[in-house]
């Protein structure tokens, strides 16, 4: 085997132990070999940096396009609903009053989507196989019954985020009463830190969804108003405004 083959095999990660030994010897004792190796190592780094620059400029280009098009393309959902209602009315469906406004059930179907898991990114690893970790695995796999069981058995079942995600599991299973009980607990917790405050805000949105599901419109409206009236809240604010528009 020639020396430059050894260098190729180094970069392919395929040196045998014996070749590795030889490789190390050459690196120490053969200055040409060493120069060649350093050159290729530099090349590897330079290519990676070049790749990064290329991707960065491509992303900037995409970003420009997004910002350009967003100036023209925002069609509020409300208008879309209004437009489709207009079509329906011109079709002559006058008598069915319920069609003028979407029912609570329809709004719920349109707007409800479980929150992403922002707590515990699920990565395989020995040290992470806690019950909490497994609960989030189940949550992401949409295995909500299992997730609820696991959330019940975690070390710190009273943490706001555990109660919050458990509530979402119930809501996803369309068990809105259980969901309301849990999410109310989160929504009324004192916000001691920004973490709890986050979950409190988000809980309000999902509480509103649960009330819609239960056809408790007034309660839904009061939760949504909490979101739209809170200047520091960002989560689903626009959606909350839209839904309020339908309900009021």
């Amino acid at each position: 085997m020639e020396n430059h083959d050894l260098i190729d095999r180094y970069f392919e990660n395929s040196l045998s132990p014996k070749e590795q030994q030889l490789f190390n010897d050459l690196l120490q004792n053969d200055s040409n070999f060493k120069d060649e190796f350093i050159f290729q190592k530099d090349l590897k780094q330079v290519i990676a940096v070049s790749q990064q620059e290329e991707l960065k400029s491509r992303l900037s280009h995409i970003e420009d396009n997004v910002q350009k098009s967003s100036r023209f393309m925002i069609i509020p959902k409300k208008w879309m609903v209004a437009a489709s209602l207009l079509v329906l009315t011109t079709l002559g469906i006058w008598s069915v009053k319920s069609l003028y406004y979407p029912s609570n059930e329809v709004i719920y179907e349109d707007y409800f989507q479980v929150d992403r898991n922002t707590i515990q990114p699920v990565v395989r690893g020995e040290s992470l196989k806690t019950i909490e970790y497994r609960a989030f695995v189940a949550y992401e796999a949409q295995d909500y019954y299992k997730a609820i069981n696991l959330f019940n058995s975690v070390k710190t079942p009273d943490e706001a985020y555990i109660i919050y995600y458990k509530g979402l599991c119930f809501l996803a299973l369309e068990k809105s009463d259980e969901a309301i009980a849990l999410l109310s607990e989160v929504a009324t917790q004192p916000a001691l830190d920004s973490e709890t405050a986050d979950f409190r805000e988000k809980a309000n949105w999902y509480l509103a969804m649960a009330y819609l599901k239960n056809n408790e419109t007034e309660k839904a409206i009061s939760r949504l108003s909490l979101i739209t009236n809170n200047p520091s809240s960002n989560f689903k604010k626009q959606e909350a405004q839209e839904v309020l528009g339908y309900l009021k």
């Binding site: 290519i47 990676a48 991707l55 491509r58 992403r116 699920v122 920004s194 960002n234």
Partner: protein, 188 residues
């Protein structure tokens, strides 16, 4: 998104699929910007951080660091972005920090300059001349040194009749770079 989908996406990223990366970028952009608003991060800073996170995601995929990722790609991308927001802005939040440290223990590299900056004069020259190389050379060198394919795989990707031809082509590309650098220094 299930685990199999994540695996497919990681595989596509490894192959350098641009469309996949663009889709990930667009799908998660709004969510990430909303998230960073909570920490009062400027929109332009947030976009910077978001783009860096995409770079890191791609690098980690290419380097095989997330072959065993069990969460979905968005969750992972958000974890990178969060980590960088904390480090850039020193936002204090005990709980989230501890969760991020779990990831650090997993040896997942969240730093954008994984390879260190190009600092030496030789590296800068090398970069200048690499960028000027022909497409043929660039794709061979890129597949070998960045994407991490071995010569047999590159032979079949680029349709070389045999490995020997490919190897001498690769040597010629490297020699071309060396010649350009030597010429720059006035050595023949």
């Amino acid at each position: 998104m299930n685990q199999q989908e994540s695996k497919n996406i990681i595989e596509l990223l490894k192959q350098g699929d641009q469309k996949t990366l663009e889709k990930i970028y667009l799908d998660n952009r709004e969510g990430f910007l909303n998230f960073s608003r909570k920490y009062n991060v400027d929109e332009s800073d947030a976009i910077d951080i978001y783009q860096d996170s995409i770079l890191i995601l791609r690098d980690n995929a290419v380097n095989g660091r997330i072959d065993n990722l069990q969460s979905n790609i968005s969750t992972y991308l958000f974890a990178i972005g969060k980590y960088r927001i904390y480090h850039n802005f020193r936002v204090q939040s005990r709980l989230k920090m501890t969760n991020d440290f779990d990831l650090v223990e997993e040896n997942l590299d969240f730093d954008v300059n994984l390879y260190g900056p190009v600092v030496t004069k030789e590296q800068q020259l090398l970069k200048k001349y690499y960028d000027e190389l022909g497409e043929r050379c660039k794709s061979i060198l890129n597949l070998f040194y960045y994407q991490g394919y071995n010569l047999d795989e590159i032979r079949s990707i680029l349709n070389y009749s045999n490995k020997k031809v490919l190897k001498s082509q690769k040597s010629r590309c490297i020699k071309q770079l060396k010649d350009l650098i030597n010429k720059h220094y006035g050595k023949s």
